[in-house]
């Protein structure tokens, strides 16, 4: 691709800049990309972030650990459960309390439902970014069922705030198991439709295959995690390498691809949805009895002095929480290692030499959520 550009350089052209965003539908939020262009060929991309920076880390230094949990689902709102879980797990591990098996299984089911709903939204928007509006409608039809399940059990559809340190806020709704099973049954017939609509579409394949290749070495060096990194063969699934909650008792595959192109990143997420379905199926009939909140976790939580790090696998990659505690009710310093932040900055490396339309496809398969980057 790059050589082709150089040989065509018979006419003298001038480089110029175009701002893409901060208000642009395909940047999925307030992200500004400054494109350095030669004709339609991209020479360089400079992402400008911070439009939705809410100083969550600074706020956390004044908040109690119970309050910090609810800030986290304002970061990556599509991975709300996993974000909540990261802080809860950190607090529980630091206090050395063990939550009941019931909580572990509920958290795992909830996380996988969240992953499904996040990937559904991504799939719908990916089609739309490439000009296929139908996928958006299909994805939202299926995603609605998950949101209804959340609403019934958690009382909220997006910023659920369902995990609390030591357990979950409420027990599952009596309808929960049946509704999840209904959803899984219906979604298993819908998922092949996704392939029919997009994965096997000739135009889609031509726009994604062999485009935006990211090598495994670069993925590691840029710290690209999640399905984006796994599509380049970088094995980074926290659920596999450092199992938490009930992930050590379910069987699932870590989806690894070898090509690292836009289509691999697309395919990795589609296959991941099948794995999530399988995890939920294994657990939904086997929710053990037990307490939903560990009574030894007090209302005002003080972590012991020390430093703690906890990572979870969100729909976008590894979310890490790093806490320096001085024994008070608020952390001395708290850092969120958000997956989106690292994933975004590989874009410039990937996109050089391609066209703007390819950039849109690549950005779509990195699956950015801007509040997750800006925090």
């Amino acid at each position: 691709m790059i050589e082709e550009v150089e040989t065509k350089d018979a006419i003298k052209t001038q480089e110029y800049f175009v701002n893409m965003g901060p208000q642009h539908p395909s940047t999925h939020g307030v992200l500004r990309l400054m494109l350095e262009l030669d004709g339609e060929i991209i020479k360089k991309v400079t992402p400008h972030i911070g439009y939705i920076h809410r100083s969550i880390e600074k706020m956390s230094e004044k908040d109690s650990y119970r309050q910090i949990v609810h800030l986290t689902d304002r970061m990556d709102y599509l991975s709300n459960h996993m974000n909540n879980e990261a802080v809860c797990l950190l607090v529980e591990n630091a206090l050395e309390v063990e939550v009941s098996d019931r909580v572990k299984v509920i958290r795992t089911i909830m996380s996988e439902l969240t992953r499904l709903s996040s990937h559904q939204l991504w799939w719908g928007v990916m089609g739309m970014d490439l000009g296929a509006l139908t996928t958006f409608l299909y994805a939202f039809r299926d995603r609605e069922m998950i949101n209804d399940i959340f609403e019934e059990t958690c009382g909220a559809r997006l910023t659920v705030n369902y995990n609390v340190p030591g357990g979950v806020m409420f027990d599952i709704h009596p309808n929960f198991q049946q509704r999840v099973k209904d959803f899984i049954k219906s979604f298993k017939t819908k998922l092949p439709e996704y392939d029919d609509l997009l994965s096997n579409n000739v135009i889609f394949r031509q726009r994604t295959e062999g485009v935006g290749i990211l090598s495994k070495e670069d993925a590691i060096s840029y710290g690209v995690t999640g399905p984006t990194g796994r599509a380049s063969g970088f094995s980074n699934d926290t659920r596999k390498h450092k199992p938490y909650s009930a992930y050590d008792r379910v069987e699932f595959k870590e989806i690894l691809m070898d090509k690292g192109d836009t289509f691999s990143r697309y395919k990795a997420r589609i296959l991941e949805m099948w794995e999530s379905v399988s995890i939920i199926e294994q657990l939904i009939d086997n929710i053990p009895e037990g307490d939903i909140q560990e009574p030894s976790v007090k209302q005002v939580i003080k972590l012991p002095k020390g430093e703690f790090y906890q990572s979870v696998e969100t729909a976008r990659g590894e979310l890490g929480v790093y806490v320096v505690s001085d024994g008070q009710k608020s952390p001395y310093r708290l850092k969120f290692r958000s997956p989106g932040f690292s994933n975004l900055f590989v874009l410039d490396h990937m996109v050089r030499g391609y066209k703007i339309a390819d950039l849109v496809a690549m950005m779509s398969t990195i699956d950015l959520v801007i509040p997750d980057i800006d925090r």
Binding site: I49, G50, H53, S55, E57, K58, M59, K62, N93, A94, E96, D218, I220, S221, Y222, G223, T225, F234, S235, N236, H241, K242, G306, E307, F308, Y309, S311, E318, G320, Y322, V324, Y332, R333, K335, R337, F341, S342, F345, H349, D374, R375
Partner: protein
């Protein structure tokens, strides 16, 4: 490589390195604390030495302590998933400076910009050291403990 032999190896490179273990009793992380002048040498060895290959920097941040700044680098080997926390103690609070690591781990470039933005730590030889989250004209470094917020929305 287990924590003990790792400790011995780093102590061989940097005789005055300090060590501590952090985390919970179940998951202990080895912390190696070094001075800024040794950072580049140690980082390159950790990245390239056989048996270590800490090729994945998964977190980079800074902590403002009353007497010093502490740069914190969380490193992991993508093959073995061994982990190590490398820390650099910056004693000079007036003019904190440390060498950039962005040519060893590419992800460091942007995380360092964030630390520069929020803590005011200057990274020497960084290719593009600008504010990243805040406005170019922002005054002060908000994550420092002595930062006074003029609007004061978050103090209780």
């Amino acid at each position: 490589m287990d924590n003990e032999s790792l400790k011995a190896k780093i102590a061989q490179w940097v005789p005055d390195a300090e060590f501590e273990e952090t985390g919970t009793s179940k998951a202990q992380l080895l912390n190696a604390i070094i001075t800024p002048d040794k950072l580049l040498e140690v980082a390159e060895k950790l990245r390239n030495e056989d048996g270590m290959k800490y090729d994945f920097m998964y977190c980079l941040t800074c902590v403002d302590f009353p007497e010093h700044f502490m740069m914190v680098y969380h490193l992991r080997s993508s093959e073995t998933w061994n982990e190590l926390v490398l820390k650099v103690k910056i004693e000079d609070k007036e003019k904190p400076e440390v060498e950039t690591l962005c040519h060893i781990w590419r992800t460091a470039e942007y995380h360092e910009r964030e630390v520069y933005d929020l803590f005011g730590v200057v990274f020497k030889n960084h290719p593009d050291l600008r504010r990243i989250l805040l406005d170019e004209e922002w005054e002060g470094y908000p994550l420092r403990k002595d930062y006074a917020d003029p609007v004061n929305m978050i103090s209780l």
